[in-house]
Amino acid sequence: MKEYFQNVWYGLFTVFVGMKVTFKHLFVPSVTIQYPDVNIKLPERERNRLYVNMDDCIGCDQCSRACPVSCISIETVKSIPGEDLGKTSNGKKKALWVTKFDIDIAKCCFCQLCVFPCPTECIYMTDVFEYSEYERNSLVYNFVTLSPAEIAQKKSNFAKLEAEKAAQKAAAAAAPPPVKPAAKTEDKP
């Protein structure tokens, strides 16, 4: 019997305690961030859209091989001797023309595994996350800085070089081997 009245009192009392708490919360300022009017501050090392600084890229293909979803595709072409491709920011000379550097950002899983193997730290993650497009193909980013004409030129240069080398080899193979000088028997003094 006593428990009955205790239950009643307890029930009512706790309801009022709860109501007091909720009432207090009416006057707590809201914690909502009004995106997109207000920009959210992102943490320091967060991983969003990739960026490649082509001036530093040496075409080593390490990032493409590290990518677990194969979203980076790289094609390079050797430069002919005597050409100056410039230096990376480390001071090393570049030796390869990068003719294709595509990142399919739709496939990218933002794991950052491509960032670490890069010897010149030219590929890194930026803090850009608002990059939706209307077409899926617009999400394939092309990073090469050479124009198609230049790319064609570099490729043809390389092809010519290869052709010359192949011609030289063929010529060397076709020509008679050089006569070895006869082993001179010398009197032993």
Binding site: N7, V8, G11, L12, V15, G18, M19, V21, T22, F23, H25, L26, V28, P29, S30, V31, T32, Q34
Partner: protein
Amino acid sequence: MIIYDFLYNLVYSLFQSALVSNIVAMTICAALPLIFVLTFVLWAVLAERKVSAWMQDRVGPNRTGPHGILQTVADLIKLLQKEDIVASENDRPLFNIAPVLVFSGSYVVFAVLPFSFAFIGSNIDLGLIFLVAASGFVVPGILMAGWSSNNKYSLLGAMRSAAQIVSYEIPTLLVLVTIIMITGTTNLRTLSEMQTGYFWNWMIFGGPGLSAAKFLFIPFMFIGFIILYISTLAEVNRTPFDIPEAESELVSGFHTEYSGMKFAMFFLSEYANMFAVSALVSAVFLGGYQSPFGYIGNLIHVTWLVPIEQFFWFAFKGVFFVLVQMWLRWTLPRLRVDQLMALCWKYLIPIAFVNLIIVGLITVL
């Protein structure tokens, strides 16, 4: 009452026909509560979302119009242009009639609410009993909705709702009988008229007059007020008693399968019901349309201002209790269905009975 007579005389002076004036006056009088309900719902939906947001430290709708004012309009337009889906296995007649019944049950109660001295939809001498009886219209409506949805969750929701509404009618009626015993009338307008004067004449403080009985009544009136508030909260399926439409348990309970305008009917009827029971509680216990401290109209001798003030007080009290209902929604966790039944049958009904007996004894002595 006054508005009806006024309109009747106005139209009669224009058309000189009793029939036409009667029809026009009655139509306008019947449409006024509808306008009130629609305006109220327009505000209440937004208020619920805003108040719930503020209580949860967030902002609520603020993109549609300044501070989200046009949110309900946007909701309404969205619901109007939705496709009206009736699944092939649904019982078509029942499915279609259910929202109509539920809305009529909620709306017909507005006929007897005393909005002010100048306007009451229908001055029935059995106002209180009519109110409780007519709000029982929603029970078959909900059962129809749950059954014809051909969906086990809807059916469960509907059955629980029927059990809940029917069992919570009993404490409601018991408390109302207590009031009837004290005041001797079931006419809601007379009830509100009796609580005239200042706030100490309200029923919750024992009723008008200044007798020993009045002071003896006070604790029992408070108990009765709490019981009435809790049981009417359960009648409108409002948290913590919203098992029938428990969002996290039964998807949407009995109105899961409804889309578009029919869902809007359920939605509308829930908010209309909320106001109706808040108005009932305030009419019976807190003085209906009477102001707690005299009328400004009387003070400055502008007598036509008084009914407007009364309407304002009525709306204010109703809206206040609606806000308390919203407050409770975000405070209390939902009751399990067996706890709900236990609360009604084991706690509310015995206490209401004891209340009734003691008040009866006091009135006799």
